[in-house]
């Protein structure tokens, strides 16, 4: 139920983002989803890719600071209040969302949102108990 996400420390200077995408691209890694969180000095690039371990290794070899964490991909009905209902479930279960970002591809009629929770297990339990579809990791990285 969990998806591997790699995150990369990026200094706020020109060319760094291009370098990351070049390094993993040349290794044959395909990006499935991404988000960039930034401050004035540095940013954190978070990626869902088809080959997370390979991406991490090639980036480390190039001297990047890389971290692998687990996130959850949730199927969200593509209609008004679709996301709202999911967030309400999480709120009622007192689960904190650290951050979230949308997936590029759709899953059938539904959109996919990546969530980072402080407590992954509880979050998955609360979502599935409320009939919300949490996508298997292989499915996400293979999309």
């Amino acid at each position: 139920m969990k998806v591997d996400q790699i995150s990369i420390f990026i200094e706020n200077k020109s060319g760094r983002l291009a370098e990351v995408t070049r390094v993993i691209g040349e290794a044959g890694v395909n990006i499935r989803a991404l988000s960039l969180a930034d401050t004035s000095d540095f940013g954190i690039l978070r990626l869902i890719v088809d080959k997370a371990d390979l991406a991490r290794d090639v980036l480390k070899d190039k001297g990047f600071t890389v971290n692998k964490t687990q996130v959850v991909g949730v199927e969200v009905p593509d209609r008004p209040l679709g996301l709202s209902r999911i967030l309400q479930v999480l709120d009622e279960s007192r689960i904190n969302v650290e951050y979230m970002y949308a997936f590029v591809e759709r899953c059938g009629e539904n959109a996919v949102i990546i969530f980072r929770f402080d407590n992954l297990e509880e979050a998955i339990e609360a979502l599935t108990a409320n009939g919300i579809n949490v996508l298997p990791g292989e499915r996400i990285s293979g999309m």
Partner: protein
């Protein structure tokens, strides 16, 4: 271990009477042979025969680094060039280098005090000394080399640079003692890790580090990273080079200054007044046996204090406390005196960052700014922004607590701060020069 039992344990009265005799000879020598000193003694109304006690030296004028520059290159030499067998020079980052010359006897004495220093650090004949101080105009390489040979150890003249080869030699040749700058030792340790080697398979047991100020916390880090005992050595090319003072392995508490060859004083850097033993101020050294370029009351710009209490190792020579910085390195930021070593002492206790840093001082709208650049390592890195922000806030807070000034902390990618193979460059001051 004592190298020269007799001289290293001379009773205090004997040291002092030897110092007085040698001081008088040195004053007479420079008065007779160096026009600069003859003139400066005359201006101050002093003469060598007025020195009746060690305390009388206080009346003699100081020698400054600028005096050496003004007399570039050979103006302060007290021996003719046919007696000079070696010339060294300081790096001279600001203008002309300062030049020093050694007679054959100077070289022998240098080897003697350096051999004593090695022995004080626990090195002996059976050791393999890996000398990674630079060989060349810099005094570090050759100074340590001659001392190691005098000791009878096997010396590997590595010089600086070519870090991977250094590590191969260190491992294959079974180096037991490493001599280099403290910052380079950390770079070596980092490279050992990167090469996937286990430091416990090396035979290294002692490191003798000097040529730049380093903190007690940095010592702990070096000792852990290289699995060695790290000993602090002090010297400066103007006075001799390495081997002016060293910590004994027994106490590792202050550096014994070889008082039969160097006469130390501590002064108030503002007024020039001599301070009592134990008080902190600028170290001033007079050479007692040097022939090539004897210096009278040379202002080292190094801040320390003299420890006169006997040491448990049995040596009777006074100690200087580990340096808290050079008055040259001191930055004045918004009116606050800041030594890079103080900031280092904060950074080195934060395990989420690497022990490499750079201070950038600038001026914006007439206000000094300080930026501290530190490298994030994998232990600190998280996919959450707030974790990194907490880290930089913590660093800023600790620096503020220690120095009372607010700085900007910039987290940078690993390995982006230049590693040095000699003296580390820790400060970039972009403020317009007054």
């Amino acid at each position: 271990m004592l190298w020269n039992d007799e001289f290293e344990t001379l009773p205090r009265e004997a040291i002092e009477s030897l110092q007085l005799k040698r001081l008088r000879q040195t004053l007479e020598r420079v008065n007779a042979t160096v026009p600069f000193y003859r003139e400066s003694f005359r201006k101050s109304g002093v003469a060598p025969d007025q020195l009746k006690s060690l305390k009388d030296l206080e009346r003699f004028p100081f020698t400054l680094k600028q005096d050496m520059r003004d007399n570039y290159p050979y103006g302060l030499f007290a021996a003719p060039l046919e007696q000079i067998v070696r010339i060294h020079a300081s790096s001279g980052t600001t203008g002309k280098p300062t030049v020093v010359g050694y007679t054959r006897r100077d070289i022998e004495i240098w080897a003697e005090v350096m051999a004593r220093s090695f022995a004080a650090a626990g090195a002996q004949k059976s050791d393999v000394i890996h000398n990674a101080y630079g060989y060349g105009l810099f005094t570090g390489g050759l100074g340590a080399h001659y001392g190691a040979e005098k000791l009878g150890a096997s010396v590997i003249p590595m010089s600086g640079g070519n870090t991977r080869k250094q590590i191969m030699i260190m491992e294959d040749f079974g180096s037991t003692v490493l001599t280099c700058t403290p910052s380079y030792s950390l770079f070596l340790a980092e490279t050992v890790r990167e090469l996937g080697k286990d430091i416990r398979n090396f035979k290294l047991k002692t490191g003798i580090f000097g040529a730049e100020p380093w903190s007690e916390q940095m010592r702990d880090q070096i000792e852990a990273a290289l699995n060695i005992k790290a000993i602090d050595i002090y010297g400066l090319s103007e006075i001799l080079g390495p081997g002016v003072a060293i910590e004994c392995v027994e106490a590792q508490n202050g550096l014994h200054i070889w008082e039969d060859h160097f006469y130390p004083e501590i002064i108030d850097p503002q007024t020039g007044d001599v301070l009592a033993d134990g008080e902190k101020g600028e170290l001033v050294i007079t050479t007692l046996t040097k022939e090539g370029i004897p210096l009278i009351r040379y202002r080292t710009r190094d801040i320390t204090r003299l420890i006169a209490e006997p040491c448990l190792c049995g040596r009777t020579h006074k100690r200087i406390e580990r340096l808290s910085g050079r008055s040259d390195d001191m930055l004045i930021i918004r009116g606050v005196n800041v030594f890079p070593s103080q900031i280092e002492s904060v950074l080195i206790n934060i395990e989420e960052i690497e022990p490499h840093y750079l201070l950038i001082v600038d001026r914006e709208e007439n206000l000094d700014t300080l930026e501290v650049q530190v490298e994030v390592n994998e232990r600190a890195f998280s996919d959450e922004i707030k974790v990194l922000q907490t880290l930089s806030n913590r660093i800023r807070g600790e620096i503020k607590d220690l120095l009372g000034i607010t700085c900007k902390v910039r987290l940078v990618e690993p390995k982006t701060i230049a590693r040095s193979e000699g003296k580390a460059k820790r400060v970039i001051d972009n403020r317009p020069k007054a």
